[in-house]
Every structure is written in C-alpha cells, then in structure tokens.
C-alpha cells in the first residue's frame, strides 16, 4: 500500500470505479479544447486519481498541474453518461493534495491571502477607503433583505461598479436592504482550491453575522457566493435560517410583481448574447431568470450562444484557473468571445463578476471589439441610472 493517504479521494472511490472512460466529458471541456494532453482532460484526471487510489500511479507534479488546471465548470458532470459528478471527484483530489502539502505554490499563496485578509485580493478595509469603494458606510446594517457583496464586488473596481449598480437599482425600486459591514470571503475560493477548514471557518463566521442582522433573505450578485451560501453552507452547518437568492432571481421576481418595469429608453437594437455563468447555471440551475430580465428590456435583443444553458462553455475564470494558469484562463475566454465577434454581436452580458472580469481581461488582451456587461449595468441603463 502507498504510504500516502488519500482520505478525501477514498470517499469518491465509487465514482472513480464507475467511470466508463467513454470520454464524452472531454467534449465540452474548456481545458481539453486548449491543452491536448489526455492528463488534462476530465477522463485523464479520473484515470490518474483512480490509479493513485489503486497504487498503480505515482504522485508526480503533473498530478498537481492536472488537477488544478480546471475551471470546475461542471461541463464534464453534464456530459458524463454514467452520471458521475466529476467535479466532486476532482474537488476531493484537490483537498487531498492541499492537505498533503502538494498543492501548487500559487494555490497555497492564494489560500494564505484569503485566510489572512478575508478576501481574495489581499486588500483591507482601509484600502477600500483610499480607493473610495467602501459602500459599508452608506447602507443600513439591518433589514429583512441583506445584500452579500462578495470579494469581487468589495475589492475589484470592475465588478464593484456592477454591484454598486445593483444597489442603485434596489434603491430606485425603494427596496430596503442591509449590508454586512464586516463580511468576509464566502469561502467558495477556498472550497474550490481544496481548503475545507478555511471554507468552514468563513461559513460559520458569515452565517453567524448574517443571523445577527435578522435578515430572512440574502441576495448576492456573485454566483460563487450564491453557490457557497445556497449549497455549500447547508452541508457544513445544516439548514440556514434565511433564504438565498441571486440578484437575477430577485429582479425577475420584481418584474413578475410589476415592481420593476422597463420603459422605452435610449437603448435601440442592442444585440446581446447572454453567457451562463457555470456557478449560477450548471451548478445551481438558474438559467431563465437572467433571460427574463434581458428579454423584458425594450430595445435589447437577446440571442443565444451556440452552446447555452446547461451546455454553456465556461469563461475560463473559475476553479482558481486565473491563479494557477492566467494565460489559459484568458485563452478560454477568448474562444467564448470569438463567437460574439463572428456573429457581430455588440455585447456579451453575464451575471457573474468573475466572468465579467475574466472576459474583460481577455477582451483587452486580445483587442476584441465586443462590450462585456454585467446584467445590472444593462438593467441600470434601462431604468435611467447612469
């Protein structure tokens, strides 16, 4: 027997044994489209992990590279004919590598940052004041509805603007909502990178802080936070005392209730493609709410990517890939944006700060002539917020 204990992977043994090796998982995998080594395909990763568990393989650095070169987009889960949650298996593999001290240094470094600063950007509240970002001072600390901002909205200028736009939309609709002044990272990045202790720590902290506010509904504009709150937290601390919503669900609800009404405005014949964020779409099943919002806006024509909804290709920005392989993350985004360019689409709209950011970086890097919009910007523009 190997001296190394894969205590997380052993929990995924049944999935590894069930893998039919059919390779359908490679078909829509954003990494396999760019890196042709089988070891970087979902099937290859499954074979490598299975062989480690069976003492037929060696834990080389390539295992580490292979496991962390993945956006965790769940396309492999969606195409697996045996119904295996491949990303759960890969997550178990990552947890073992991290706990064995075998994760890549870039990953270890990011986890240290998250642990120390409470966010993925290594910024402090003071930094926010200097940058003029800090919304905490402007909003109440208690209401039935709490807006969970997330690291991207808190600390990065591009998604921050989108989140501020969401705040403004809610204000215009006269919705009372609170902000968690001392919010910390939701834990999703630590979860994806394999650090369960840190995930749990953030989960317990945030749940306790949210409960202190007495909010019965928590809304977020970040699908990573959304999935953490909605799916991961209940697994760690049991049923939550509050409902979790993505901003698109809330806005769609307001459209249904007649509270959010779009009138004819300056937008005229804007052709957009909606990009389904993996965390919101495949992981959480939210496909129609964003579409309902876009289709409700006069002058905006929603078109679909060739691969959309549960087949949507990843933007490349998930799973920690922007940390472990930023070039690959940009190339994956470029491939997705190419379709918009080829079809002369004016804007790609998404509902995720990580997608928005990775698309924007790629668009600038490759000088692509297409707008990248968060759905809140589109909504804001359509109700006269400028």
């Amino acid at each position: 027997m190997s001296e190394i204990s894969f205590k997380n992977l052993i929990q995924a043994k049944e999935s590894l044994d069930t893998c039919f090796k059919c390779s359908f998982c490679k078909g829509n995998c954003p990494v396999s489209e760019q890196i042709f080594w089988e070891s970087f395909s979902p099937r290859g990763k499954m074979l490598i992990l299975r062989s480690l568990l069976r003492d037929q393989g060696i834990l080389t650095e390539k295992v580490r590279d292979s496991l962390y070169t993945c956006t965790m987009c769940s396309n492999c889960d969606n195409t697996c004919i045996a119904g295996i949650k491949v990303t759960d298996v890969l997550a178990a593999g990552r947890r073992d590598l991290y706990e064995l001290g075998k994760a890549p240094e870039s990953v270890n470094s990011l986890i240290r940052t998250i642990k120390d600063s409470g966010n993925v950007f290594d910024l402090s509240k003071e930094d926010l004041d200097i940058l003029g970002f800090n919304p905490d001072k402007e909003f109440p600390k208690s209401a039935d509805l709490l807006f969970f901002k997330g690291c991207y909205a808190n600390y990065h200028s591009i998604p921050h603007k989108s989140t501020m736009r969401s705040f403004n939309i809610l204000q215009k609709l006269k919705v009372d909502f609170a902000i968690l002044g001392d919010e910390e990272c939701c834990g999703s990045p630590a979860y994806l990178l394999g650090d369960m202790d840190t995930t749990r720590r953030f989960c317990e902290y945030n749940v306790s802080k949210i409960e202190e506010t007495g909010a019965c509904r928590v809304v977020t504009a970040c699908p990573g936070c959304y999935r953490a709150l909605k799916q991961i937290y209940p697994k760690l601390v049991g049923k939550l005392n509050f409902e979790v919503l993505h901003i698109t669900e809330l806005l769609a609800e307001y459209i249904d209730a007649g509270r959010l009404v779009f009138k004819k405005n300056g937008i005229d014949k804007l052709h957009v493609l909606y990009h389904d964020p993996c965390e919101l779409g495949r992981h959480c099943g939210i496909y129609e709410a964003p579409r309902k919002i876009i289709e409700s806006i006069p002058g905006v024509h929603l078109e679909e990517f060739e691969k959309n909804r549960d087949e949507a290709k990843c933007c490349g920005g998930g799973g920690g890939l922007t940390i472990s392989n930023p070039n690959l993350a940009s190339q994956i985004a470029q491939l997705r944006l190419n379709e918009a360019i080829e079809r002369s689409i004016q804007a790609v709209v998404t509902a995720c700060p990580a997608c928005q950011l990775n698309f924007t970086i790629s668009k600038d890097k490759y000088n692509m002539k297409v707008k990248i919009l968060d759905i809140s910007q589109l909504v804001g523009d359509s109700i006269g917020l400028h």
Partner: protein, 471 residues
C-alpha cells in the same frame, strides 16, 4: 549500451524531434494514456509525443523503425476495443495538435483536414457553407477524423449516408519507414491504379499514420420526417426493414430497439431523472425509428407513403410521426439515451456490432437472443437496421469471474454464428485488441493476405502492435 541507457537516448532523440514541451514520460501522463474505452485496458506507454506535422512524425517513425519500438497513433481515444493502447509499450503519438481544417471547398464539396480535427468542429465549420460530413457517431464531440478514418466509423445515419470510408478520397500517410506518401487525388473517382486510399481506412493505425485527409462533404438536409413504427413482433419489424431497403426510398435512419431495451430505458430514465427522464419509448415488441431527410419536401411526403405501406404490410399497428422538431428530437433522444441509461445502471458494458445482410437481420437478432438465454445473461439489442448491423449491449460486473466466463462464451457464440452465416464481427467499431481472435475465423485465407500486407508496410511490426493482429 544498456537497455536503460538506450531508452534514455531514444527519449532525448524524440525530444529533439518534437521539442521538450511536446514529449512526456511523466507517470501521470502515462497513466492517462494507458487506456481507452475498453474496460479491461490498462497498459502504460513508455512515452507520449505530440508532433505538429507530418515531418516530425516521419522522423519519429524513422527512429522507432530503426530501434523497433512500437508506435501507436491516437486521436480522441474513443475506441471501445483497445485500439489505441500501447499493449507492448512504446510511443503513443497524440495527434490532437494536428487540428487544422486546411480547406473547405464549397464548390466541390470537399474538405482537407488534419487527423486531430474533432468531427463536431468540421461540421461546425462546414455548416457555414451549408455542408455536412454525414457519418454521425455518438462521440462526435470527442472523436477525431483521424480516428474515424482509422476505424471506419459510422453510426445512426449510415442507412443512407454510409460509413467514413465512403467520404475519404485522398490521404497523406507516414509509412513505418518514415516516408511521407500521398494516396489518391481530390477527385470523386479514379480508375488509375490500386485503390490504396481505402486500404488505410479501417486499418487502425497498423499500416501507417494518417497526417492529412481529403473528405467529401454533402449538402445539409433541410427537411425531416421522423416516426416510430410499432410492431407486434420484432422479427416482423426486421422484415419490414429489408423491404424498405429494397424499395429504394433510402431512409437516413432506420433503427430497431428491442422491447427489453425500451423497457429498461424507460425504467432507468425515470429512476435517474434530470434530463434523462425525457427519454421514453412507446413500448412495442418491435419498434422501428425511421427518419427520412432531404432538400425536397415533396419527395419526403411521397417516401412517407411508401414507408407507411410497407410497415402496414408487415403488421405495423401504429406509426407515430413527429409533428415538430421538438418531437423529432425527443425520439432521437430516447434512442441516444439507451446506452446512457444502461451504463448508469452498471458501469461496465460489453458492446458488440455484428453485421449481416439486412434481410438476415432477424437471424442475427435471434442469435443474440438465444445466446442470452443459453448463458443466462440479459442481452439488450439495438440495430442500425438498414445495414443489418445489430448491437448487443450487455451490462456486466467486471469483478464477477463466473459472469465474465459466461460473457466470453456468449460473445464467442454470437460472433461465430454470425461468421457462419456469412457476416462480420464488426460493422463500425473495429477490431482493436479485444476482437483479434475473431479475425482468422472471419477472414480465412484473406487473413493471410492481410498479414502479408501488414508485413509489406510494416516489416518490423512497430505500428500499433497488438491491434487487429495477435502476432
């Protein structure tokens, strides 16, 4: 020079050819290339290289031929039969880097591609000019065109559109000694010399490594008529197929699904839920899935009448035509979900693809059913009926030795009886490693001719040894 030192020297030589970034001996990579879809396959190669052109492959083969090292070309790795596994070690050549669509000639309905192009990608590009590469395989999002040529793939639409071989008109091939040779011309037909192009189609990497493929394309069909035909007897549905084929109406799809398969699919689709729960067959002893397609709706309407008459003559109790695209997709979804549902229930599955002339399809189905009864094994049957090509699908437990023995006896019996009736062990999947033992019984004297051809092209037996030929 010792063996170990020699190996290292060879690795260095290979790295010089492809570059350090495109060669690996890392254990994780070797594990990832140790297998394909065949359940029992697990054999690590000594190294994997990823060349970018024919010239590099030529250099690799010159070296391997001199040193008598096995070389195994590999595309999407979707062989179900161990066709791209390094059974005797050696070098795997990963061809995905050679993935350029060099030309789509819309005027002459042709495409020139490198072997690592994914089938779906070619069709995505061809669609822009209203063309399609018609052989449809379920793995088209993964399967490479090089792999499809190597195994002469076909699938659900072969009734009308045939197999890969029907679309290959010219090839560039690197031979075992490193020569880069072009076979065929970009013309629709030729009477000039031996047809060596089609010698390579289906050769599973044993005669040379294909580095460029010139393919015929077809205009995309615009109209479809799709239906289930429900019969009281599986045998009668198969007889109807033979008559449909004879009638000349040429359906694009003509699939048989036996009742146990329909029931299992319906039951398991519900059990596993999600998108799969939409997979549903109407359930009948004999069920035919027809599809007519074309660019002339009047012709399709006329063919529908002929098809209906033939079906009714053979006791078809009901034909359910798809009323719209959604219903059409639902019918095909059920058919495509057969394997998916069975695999979900038991992850190891034996798939056969024996073939007889269409009129003997009832015999082939009976052989499979009888063998299942004899060996106490549940056999699910689906067929690309117009070709007489029937699949037996047998989920099994890989750890049950008794079941494995019975399974082997069952497969031997089905294959040998098919051969006795004049048929073939494989209509579309190939031989690989798993079916080598059936080559001699099927081909008799021509097997010796094949061996001679193999010897002529590859005297040192370096190309995919352990595939098609045992020795």
């Amino acid at each position: 020079m010792g063996q170990e030192e020699m190996d290292e020297e060879i690795i260095r030589e290979l790295a010089k050819i492809v570059g350090d970034d495109y060669l690996t001996t890392d254990d994780a990579d070797l594990v990832a290339y140790s297998s394909d879809v065949l359940s029992s396959a697990f054999k690590k190669p000594d190294c994997v290289v990823m060349p970018e052109n024919a010239q590099q492959i030529s250099e690799i083969l010159k070296l391997a031929n001199k040193e008598k090292i096995p070389v195994i070309p590999r595309g999407g790795g979707t062989s179900e039969l161990g066709g791209c596994v390094a059974w005797r070690g050696g070098i795997i050549i990963e061809l995905r880097r050679m993935n350029q669509i060099k030309k789509i000639d819309a005027d002459n309905l042709m495409a020139v591609v490198e072997p690592g192009v994914i089938c779906e990608k070619l069709n995505y590009e061809a669609k822009r000019v209203d063309l399609v590469f018609p052989p449809t395989v379920p793995t088209e999002s993964v399967a490479t065109l090089g792999g499809m040529v190597a195994s002469n793939s076909s699938g659900l639409r072969s009734a009308k559109y045939g197999a890969t071989t029907d679309y290959v008109i010219a090839l560039e091939v690197v031979l075992a000694d490193g020569r880069i040779v072009r076979f065929g011309k970009p013309v629709y037909k030729t009477s000039s010399g031996y047809d060596l192009v089609h010698l390579f189609v289906g050769s599973e990497g044993t005669l040379g490594i294909v580095t460029e493929i010139t393919l015929k394309l077809k205009p995309i069909p615009k109209y479809f008529a799709t239906a289930y035909g429900l019969f009281d007897s599986l045998e009668e549905s198969a007889r109807a197929v033979a008559e449909i084929v004879k009638s000349g109406i040429n359906p694009a799809g003509l699939e048989i699904v036996d009742l146990p398969t329909q029931k299992a699919t319906n039951k398991l689709a519900k059990k596993y839920g999600g998108k799969l729960s939409e997979a549903s067959f109407p359930e009948a002893e004999g069920l035919l899935l027809f599809e007519l397609d074309g660019r002339d709706p009047a012709q399709i309407e006329a063919d529908k009448i002929v098809l209906q008459e033939i079906a009714e003559k053979h006791g078809c109790k009901e034909i359910i035509w798809a009323k719209n695209e959604e219903e059409r997709e639902k019918m095909w979804f059920a058919r495509k979900s057969v394997l998916v549902t069975l695999v979900r229930d038991k992850p190891t599955i034996l798939i056969g693809d024996c073939i007889l002339p269409p009129s003997q399809l009832p015999d082939l189905i009976r052989i499979m059913q009888d063998a299942g009864k004899k060996y106490g094994i549940k056999v699910y049957i689906i067929a690309h009926a117009a070709d007489g090509n029937a699949h037996y699908l047998i989920p099994y437990n890989i750890n049950d030795e008794d079941e494995l023995k019975r399974l082997e006896a069952l497969e031997d019996e089905i294959v040998h009886k098919t051969i006795e009736l004049g048929g073939s062990v494989s209509g579309e999947h190939g031989i690989g490693q798993h079916r080598m033992k059936y080559m001699k019984p099927e081909h008799g004297e021509s097997y010796e001719v094949m061996l001679a051809i193999k010897q002529l092209f590859d005297p040192n037996n370096i190309l995919s040894p352990g595939t098609i030929f045992g020795e």
